[in-house]
Symmetry: C3
Subunit: 343 residues, 3 copies
């Protein structure tokens, strides 16, 4: 559906420079844009692409250079791109329940729900309005999913877990797998039954092929607004505070607690029972082996203040020179000793 540049500018909270009547049909990259396309400029490294783009119009932040093209000037070009992509995204027609889906007769399905081909909904599960359970996904017994959620193909939510509203779970992710709990017995490890739930708040997004474990007695909690990237492991009894962001391949052992608005970089790891307070930053690949208070900035293995970690890294890089300096100094001391002896 086409819109005028003025209409788009109003939706993006921007102002038009140039002809506000030109028609916009879609969003494209600077390089691939053509007639009817709106392109976004937010990377100075792409100034070359800016000069040669065939876009019909541009969206730029406050400090971007002026060009000959009609332009929407906005405060935050990334935020504007998110809005524009949503505006031009093709609406997906509601599909209802596919005939090959296996939906237990005791499940409760609200209005406007989509359940894709070969998806499974077990006994007493409850699915909220307009939620989409895509092909091959699996909801266990008594699972609860709120309104307006999107569970991609192959997502598995195991018995009794609960998911809030407006939650997105990417393909292949498992919610409610058994926590890794074994007790040393006399002849073999005895399994600790994992009977509690995973509970996920509103507006959470979880990436693909993640695993979120349940614990023996207390629920694993993902609070509202948390965003988790792909292949992340959350151990049993974990608690992740609201709006925390976790990058790909991070591992949280059992009973790890993160505060609110924490940023965790890729491949970081947390030992069991550690906690990191709200508004902290945990650098990628950091190994958190003890607890840290709010507003910590952490890095390294084991994780410590990022400042110290960077200093140590710099010192380590100077280590080869240092060793040579120590050897040279030792020679000079030997010479001094010899001379003092000789007097």
């Amino acid at each position: 559906m086409e819109r005028s540049l003025l209409e788009v500018a109003q939706a993006l909270d921007g102002t038009v420079e140039g002809d506000p009547r030109i028609r916009i049909a879609r969003v494209a990259s600077l390089e691939s844009a053509g007639a009817g396309d709106l392109a976004f400029f937010f990377d100075v490294k792409k100034s070359g692409a800016l000069a040669s783009t065939h876009a019909a119009a541009l969206v730029c932040g406050p400090s971007a250079p002026a060009t000959a093209l009609p332009t929407i000037r906005v405060k935050n070009a990334k935020l504007a791109l998110a809005k524009a992509l949503t505006m031009f995204e093709e609406a997906r027609p509601a599909r209802g329940i596919h005939p090959t889906a296996s939906v237990d007769a005791t499940a409760t399905i609200a209005d406007g729900v989509e359940i894709g081909p070969n998806a499974v909904v077990e006994a007493r599960a409850r699915i909220g309005a307009r939620t989409s359970i895509r092909g091959g996904a699996y909801l266990g017994e008594s699972v609860v999913v709120g309104d307006d959620c999107l569970l991609y193909p192959g997502v598995i939510v195991l018995d009794r877990c609960e998911i809030g509203s407006r939650v997105v779970v990417n393909a292949g992710t498992v919610i409610g797998s058994d926590g890794f709990g074994f007790v040393a017995g006399e002849t073999q490890h005895r399994k600790m039954p994992q009977l509690a739930r995973v509970r996920i708040g509103d507006d959470v997004e979880i990436g693909a092929n993640c695993t979120i474990d349940r614990g023996p007695l207390e629920d694993t909690l993902i609070e509202p607004g948390v965003k988790i990237d792909n292949l992340v492991h959350v151990g049993h009894n974990g608690r992740i505070g609201a709006k925390t962001l976790i990058a790909a391949q991070v591992g949280l052992s059992g009973s790890v607690s993160l505060g609110e608005r924490v940023l965790v970089g890729g491949q970081a790891g947390f030992s069991d029972h550690t906690s990191v307070g709200s508004d902290s930053i945990v650098g990628s690949r950091a190994a958190v082996m003890k607890s840290f208070p709010a507003c910590s900035k952490l890095g390294g293995t084991p994780a410590r203040a990022l400042r110290d970690s960077l200093k140590e890294r710099a010192a380590a890089r100077g280590l080869v020179a240092e060793r040579d300096a120590l050897r040279r100094l030792t020679k000079r001391v030997e010479e001094l000793e010899r001379r003092l002896r000789e007097r």
Copy 2:
């Protein structure tokens, strides 16, 4: 189903302090327990919760403080919890073969087997008595699964792999994927066909979204009693000794061999063809790049004796101070040299 405190104590090998006749209906955490609930105390940090719990009775280890509540005193409170959770867990009624499951006519299915909705069992597969293959799981051709196993939804066992009895495989795990084997050809990498099997012993438990590869000729072996956490990668021709425990996100390259009763911490990695002997401990995040004998304690990147690794870490932490000390000492030597010259 309710039981008297005495009955429970007998099952947990404990002794009752207080009224043995009170009725127990379920197990709960100290914080959430109410009337009829049995709570467990094994963490001194939870002494506050102990004072304010509404549990009907407690289970405590030998050194826990006495309280006013009826108490079962046991040697090992964690082991007692595992037993109690099993005792009060609701029995899951046998469900048989779901009409939407696709079970090949040539498959052999023993008595009491459950096959969930949209699960797939291919030609000549054999499933032992009372084993549960949950919804959406997949067993390839000629796969063998023993008795009393639980394969969670979405588990994939590929052609000809073999699984023992009492094995639990969590959701989304892949058993028998092709090993990563390519031979440099003239113009491109040529695939080494991976035709051997993965064979898994009795009493093994494997976490969610793991990958266990098959090799070209020799079987990948997971021996009895091994426990593996989530997102673990076991490369082709791997061999994991009995009762070894592997934490989440560990990666074993091809042809890695671990002894019996090895403990491997989270996110550790093993280079191909390395081995670590029985009763060893490999710390989390350790990178094992050569082989180590039995009873090794390893840490660091590359992995070495944990003792040395910790010393080096301490030394590294002192590095900044060390560098300053070297500079100060150099100044003092210069001063000495100057003074000797002046005489």
Copy 3:
């Protein structure tokens, strides 16, 4: 199907030493081989197995010792094994479309395609000749898959992604999951819609339980001949050059670019927007935090020239001794100072 040793030798580009007429029925390991079996010798550590093997015949490289057994002498024994395994692999009969598969009426299915039990093919998907989509796999709307591909059980290819010909995707892998893109809004993180595709070239192989993300506007590209091991994460807008090999559990953040023929070791990680040039080697566990040119050899955290990384490691290992040396030297300087003062 049996073949004469001569026939096999011709197929392997080798020469026969001994009786060329003996019959070969299959390929086996040195240890397990019996009558009719062809065994391969390429590991000097297996000389013991060579002496005691019951194989009917051997395949050896140029430098292997002569034995009493009929032998095919080849230039490259690993390459010969790959060819021999392919030669003796049982052909899998074409299976067609399983009645439980859900194939949308608008999908285009070429000749010789297999679609397994409970697999899903959504609207307007196109599948090329002789491609096999195994049980429980999922192809989204308008997905394109070329000829002669093998998508193992549980593979998920999301809407509009494109896969070339002769591509193998192992079980549980997700192609086209949403990139991890959020924009800081006033009260919460706003999702950046991820609307572009993942495009995968010919002759690519991808391991099990990997995740390959799509980006907002520009396609994620995996070029021809790339081989990727298990549990690898490729972020949105990534670009992986032709014939690059990536080992297990590697993580590529968003917009990472790798050149052609790059080798990436297990558990390595790449920060977003970094690039590594063609013919480079990135060591296992390396953390690439800035860009490097072609032909780089990298290791360490953060990644730097492998040579420097190894030197630093050696220096770090000497650190404890160094610290002691510095303390001893300080004592000697103190003694010198005392003596000079006393004069």
